[in-house]
């Protein structure tokens, strides 16, 4: 099954009492499925079935009235077309994982 590559970006309003909780839970769902590239930006390379799960999990947490969530569907060779500068070089989950 062909994998999908999605860039997940979000803004969560943390000023209301439930905000920090939503933010935490959205971040946690993203971390389970992909790699954090910036504070509110995740790259996820997923089987279609896992993408369905992640999408549902994120939408369930979102407060439509004040948060926003964006999914960018990327081409497979995203790594080749990406430049990174500065700190926090993200992990390449498709490449060799050696720690």
């Amino acid at each position: 099954m062909k994998k999908v590559t999605v860039l997940v970006c979000y803004d969560v309003q943390v000023s209301d009492s439930d905000g920090p909780r939503r933010l935490r839970r959205i971040a946690r769902a993203c971390k389970d499925h992909g790699v954090r590239v910036q504070y509110s930006v995740f790259e996820c390379v997923l089987e279609p079935k896992d993408w369905v799960v992640l999408r549902a999990r994120l939408l369930a947490e979102l407060d439509d009235s004040c948060d926003s969530l964006r999914f960018y569907f990327l081409s497979e060779d995203v790594a080749k077309k990406t430049e990174h500068h500065g700190a926090r070089v993200p992990l390449d989950v498709e490449g060799p994982l050696i720690v």
Binding site: R28, H33, G95, P96, L97, I98, V99
Partner: protein, 342 residues
């Protein structure tokens, strides 16, 4: 079909692996070193003394992620997995075939044909690039391997197959020094030795074969075969005989080729190794890491599967071969077609 899921290698001595959400988190002295979603993993390989929480182990077993532990030399220590997967009927068919002399002979023969064929192919490639004065030596080895391949067809019992394999292995390793180029000639090689390997090239071969054997064991378990019940290799407690059988045809094109390309390109040098008091030779940490990176990258390289007529990657070859072997054992295929390098 298994997708090319990744392997997480742990090389940090004293690392701690625990579970957060659906992720593996690796820490060393309270510093977070890596965080990987479980769903990206097919196996976790600990090459250093690491420890793992029971919660993580439980999740790995449930998700079908194999966890294996190796000593510093690449010596296999242990492997953790849940209940054997797949089909009990297939496993019974495997055991029956292993008890059947005629079927054992046919599969063992196919495995050795695959091994010698690919070893021969590897030497032919090397001969093409070799300097003029080395060509006759390689030519002669290729000729001998061809002879052994013909003799294999006439082998009447398992002992003859094993005997031919042994002779062929000696002929093959004998020409290894001729494969070294330029600066790499500082490496010496006087036959294959192991437990412990006594020179750097043997250390690299042992390390590579240990990794490949685990990949093969995982592929076999993935289709529901018992990695311990083999055909060419006799049953022995603790030995993954079928994984060793499956590995034979991949030794030369995967490990040997990788080892020589690393030393001939100067990516690994004699200084990258250390000798222990007992005479065993080990890779230094940086060299081990370089080898692992190269091994993982080699798995991404595309290759043509002649029998299946499709393009695949080296990493998937053990899985495809395990599937073909399962078909043979179920009686859906007449003979086992070893993976042949073109």
């Amino acid at each position: 079909m298994t997708t090319a899921l990744n392997t997480l290698f742990i090389t940090l001595e004293g690392a701690r692996l625990n579970k957060e959400g659906e992720r593996v988190v690796v820490t060393l002295h309270d510093e977070k070193k890596a965080e990987v979603p479980l769903r990206h993993l097919r196996s976790v390989v600990c090459l250093a003394r690491a420890w793992m929480t029971p919660e993580l182990l439980e999740s790995c077993v449930e998700a079908g992620i194999h966890v294996s532990f190796f000593g510093m030399t690449g010596r296999f220590l242990a492997r953790v997995e849940g209940l054997p997967g797949g089909n009990v009927l297939l496993r019974r068919a495997q055991f029956r075939a292993a008890d059947d002399g005629a079927r054992t002979l046919e599969i063992a023969r196919a495995v050795v044909v695959g091994k010698l064929g690919n070893a021969r192919q590897f030497l032919m490639h090397a001969r093409r690039d070799a300097v003029e004065e080395r060509k006759p030596v390689l030519e002669e080895a290729v000729r001998r391997l061809s002879g052994h391949l013909r003799a294999l067809e006439r082998a009447e019992d398992l002992e003859q197959v094993r005997g031919l394999e042994g002779i062929a292995a000696r002929d093959y390793f004998e020409v290894f020094p001729s494969l070294l180029k330029g600066e790499a000639r500082r490496f010496t090689f006087d036959g294959r030795n192991r437990r412990p390997p006594r020179d750097p090239l043997n250390a690299l071969l042992s390390f590579g074969y240990a990794l490949l054997a685990q990949d093969c064991a995982g592929a076999l378990a993935g289709v529901g075969l018992d990695p311990a019940v083999g055909f060419l290799h006799e049953d022995r407690p603790g030995r993954l005989s079928l994984a060793l059988d499956l590995m034979e045809e991949l030794r030369a094109p995967v490990v040997d080729r990788l080892v020589f390309s690393l030393v001939n390109r100067g990516q690994l040098k004699p200084e990258d190794f250390k000798t222990e008091a007992a005479g065993g030779v080990l890779l230094r940490d940086e060299a081990r890491k370089a080898f692992l990176v190269a091994y993982q990258s080699a798995k991404q390289v595309e290759v043509q599967h002649v029998f299946l007529g499709q393009q695949t990657s080296w990493g998937l070859v053990p899985h495809l071969q395990a599937l073909l072997l399962a078909r043979v054992l179920r009686g859906e295929l007449d003979g086992y077609p070893p993976f042949a390098v073109r």
